[in-house]
């Protein structure tokens, strides 16, 4: 009922707009196109698009909140972090960085290496459909792997700017409420029960399977796994004998070096 009313109202408003376009300079087609690019809003369609993301974000968020609270960090940092950062793997790491009293500089470097893939999302994300400055800012802020996937290659390829923003707000709401649920669950669990850090392992295992499915398509792609082996060995050695807590940073740098060498060799 409400939906048909809203659709009728929008159609009515559009027709008035078309009617006052007396000189016909803008034209019916252009006005409709503008509407479809920036303003169209089909709430049930966006909800449908966001549901598969909800099934991933709520459990992952809950695992994150549970891990954070049972690591003796105050529970309210879980929703605050989910609100501020909104990048799953980085937030899980934030907890282990905090526990290890990681220096800010290493945190920055490691975050760059881990989230480097995001650099490529902005290229094909339909940013130009976002109209206001706030929408654009939030659009970049909340550009996660899943939102990138849905709005550029997935089912949401043709949604309007307003729908993109709604989708992002919905997804971040799932993520923040997941984190909050997990954090509160962590509060009622007695401190004598150990082992919640396993949530971290299982989350990375899932993300790794996704990455492998996407990238290992030919036999020669298996060399990437060999590079991971080399990178991990270097990271473990440096951490053991030279710099404490440096496994991740060193490992990622070695892996990056392997990929760069590969690229230059192929080019020659």
């Amino acid at each position: 009922m409400l939906k048909t009313l809203k659709t009728q109202f929008t159609a009515f408003a559009l027709h008035i707009f078309v009617f006052f376009d007396l000189t016909g300079k803008i034209g019916y087609q252009t006005i409709m196109k503008h509407h479809h690019t920036y303003h169209a809003m089909n709430i049930s369609k966006v909800l449908g698009l966001s549901l598969p993301i909800a099934t991933a974000y709520i459990p992952l968020g809950a695992a994150f909140g549970l891990y954070l609270t049972t690591s003796n960090i105050a529970w309210y940092w879980a929703p605050i972090s989910a609100f501020l950062v909104f990048a799953g793997s980085a937030e899980f790491l934030a907890v282990s960085f905090i526990l290890a009293s990681y220096p800010i500089f290493l945190t920055a470097l490691t975050t760059i290496l881990i989230n480097f893939r995001h650099v490529f999302y902005g290229l094909s994300f339909p940013y130009q459909r976002l109209r206001t400055r706030t929408q654009k800012f939030y659009g970049i802020w909340a550009l996660t792997d899943e939102i990138y996937g849905i709005t550029t290659i997935g089912k949401g390829k043709h949604i309007s700017g307003a729908e993109i923003t709604l989708l992002q707000i919905l997804c971040q709401t799932y993520w923040v409420s997941g984190a909050l649920i997990g954090a509160l669950m962590g509060l009622v669990i007695p401190a004598s029960i150990k082992g919640f850090e396993f949530a971290l392992t299982s989350m990375f295992v899932i993300l790794a399977i996704d990455a492998l499915r996407e990238n290992i398509k030919q036999l020669q792609d298996l060399k990437l796994i060999a590079y991971v082996g080399l990178a991990a060995a270097c990271g473990l050695l440096v951490e053991q004998y030279f710099i404490a807590n440096s496994f991740l940073t060193v490992g990622l740098l070695v892996y990056l070096a392997c990929i760069l060498l590969d690229y230059w060799q192929a080019k020659r």
């Binding site: 459990p59 934030a94 299982s202 990375f204």
Partner: protein, 113 residues
């Protein structure tokens, strides 16, 4: 763990993540034309995720009883469940349950006499 330190860590991550996401929009052309960057971007994900898995597995002491068995078995369960059913909820909570039951078994012992 002061609240200030936690806040600095989080805000560092937030700002860097935002900059990485905003960069191609500010410097779009350079990124679009660079073969090197798109090659690196495509190949990074596998390395990042596998290294993160190893990162969480490396603290375990595999030389003393139970030789990391709970960790290895529970991770294998997470892999199999996700590979087979593609379900995040099922995979995380089932493997977490296996792990928790195993490592907390001494706490549960009184329940079963």
């Amino acid at each position: 763990m002061s609240n200030h330190y936690i806040f600095y860590i989080l805000i560092t991550m937030a700002i860097i993540t935002f900059c990485l996401r905003a960069l191609p929009i500010l410097l779009g052309k350079i990124f679009k034309d660079s073969q090197l960057l798109s090659y690196v971007g495509g190949k990074m994900a596998v390395g990042v995720m596998l290294l993160l898995v190893i990162y969480t597995l490396k603290e375990e002491n595999y030389l003393i009883f139970p030789y990391g068995a709970p960790l290895i078995i529970a991770s294998t369960c997470a892999i199999i469940i996700y590979w087979r059913f593609n379900n995040v909820l099922l995979s995380i909570f089932l493997s977490l349950a296996i792990y928790l039951l195993w490592v907390n078994a001494p706490l549960l012992a009184p329940l079963f006499g």
